[in-house]
């Protein structure tokens, strides 16, 4: 018999299923033999689910009914026009956990996701900053402005790429870029 402890169920539900097919799994606890403190979910029996693409689940949401609820179920066998609106809603809630609106209601999860992403980006920025201070080797001499100026002068003197490249763009008569 397959059993799923509620802690593992919690981590299963913490993943992010797609919005259209999100469903929550609710089942009955194993009636006898649970020595564990947490409730075990018997996945070998029909399970309840809230799904927009499967409106009628394999079992009602609540199947252990109180006295009053059983009386209401008896009343359901008669004409439905005799039920009050509250009774009708109660019958609905006995059979189903979430209504379609509740199933489809958007969550604020995107804020958590965005916040988490930005937080870790910021943390990464701090790490890079620390690295720049404590890990990077000294700046190469060849990247200093004066060195680069001397390098460019030498390249021009050598007529590097004189046809279409560097030296072609330098005006040797006027001593400036074309």
């Amino acid at each position: 018999m397959l059993r799923l402890t509620s802690s593992r169920l919690g981590s299963l539900l913490a993943g992010r299923p797609t919005a259209a097919l999100t469903f929550s799994i609710k089942g009955r606890a194993a009636s006898q033999q649970s020595h564990e403190v947490s409730e075990a979910l018997d996945m070998s029996r029909p399970m309840y689910y809230d799904r927009v693409d499967m409106p009628l689940p394999d079992k009602p949401y609540k199947d252990v009914l109180s006295e009053a609820e059983q009386k209401l179920k008896q009343k359901e066998k008669g004409p439905w026009s005799q039920l009050t609106n509250e009774e009708k809603v109660a019958l609905y809630r006995l059979k189903f956990c979430q209504s379609y609106s509740e199933m489809k209601a958007p969550s604020a999860e995107w804020k958590t996701v965005l916040g988490g992403v930005l937080f870790f980006l910021g943390f990464t920025g701090l790490v890079v900053w620390w690295q720049r201070i404590y890990v990077y080797p000294p700046r190469p001499r060849t990247l200093e402005d004066d060195w680069k100026a001397m390098q460019l002068q030498r390249m021009l003197d050598m007529r590097i790429n004189p046809v279409e490249g560097l030296s072609a763009k330098w005006d040797y008569d006027k001593g400036q870029w074309k």
Binding site: V52, M54, P55, L56, D58, K77, N85, Y100, S101
Partner: protein, 146 residues
């Protein structure tokens, strides 16, 4: 290429428009219900509808069959016709299951998706049945709000 045809047509005093109409009619002689399948017959919409109406009309339909039927029907890429839903609602009545009847109406509204005019039309068509059986719509019960 169609020179001989043109000469024949003009000799019968047919205009250019007449000839075009004739040619169009000639190529559109395919029957309405046929498709370009390599095998098999396509079920018409009427056949589909009546099949489902018959399914839900079974006098001793059981709860499993109702659930199976509805879940399958909602799985199709269409909004069920009011007559199918009428049959399903009556099946709910035979099973003394008001909650499922309301659920079915919610599912229909969801199936319509962005086409917001479909659900009010369906409710309007089902109104006699809803009053007869005493089924309240989700809107009347406030279930459509959070």
């Amino acid at each position: 290429e169609y020179d001989w045809f043109a000469r024949l047509a003009y000799s019968h005093k047919l205009t250019q428009g007449d000839i075009e109409a004739l040619l169009n009619a000639a190529v559109s002689f395919t029957p309405l219900a046929s498709r370009c399948y390599s095998h098999g017959k396509v079920e018409t919409e009427e056949e589909f509808d009546s099949r489902w109406v018959t399914y839900f009309s079974k006098p001793d339909i059981d709860a499993w069959e109702l659930r199976k039927g509805m879940n399958t029907l909602i799985g199709y890429d269409l909004v069920p016709e009011p007559k199918i839903l009428d049959s399903a609602l009556r099946a709910c009545r035979r099973l003394n299951d008001l909650a499922s009847a309301i659920r079915i109406l919610e599912a229909v509204k969801d199936k319509a998706g962005p086409h917001k005019e479909i659900y009010p039309y369906v409710i309007q068509e089902l109104k006699p049945t809803l009053t007869e059986l005493g089924i309240s719509t989700p809107e009347e019960l406030g279930i459509d709000k959070l």
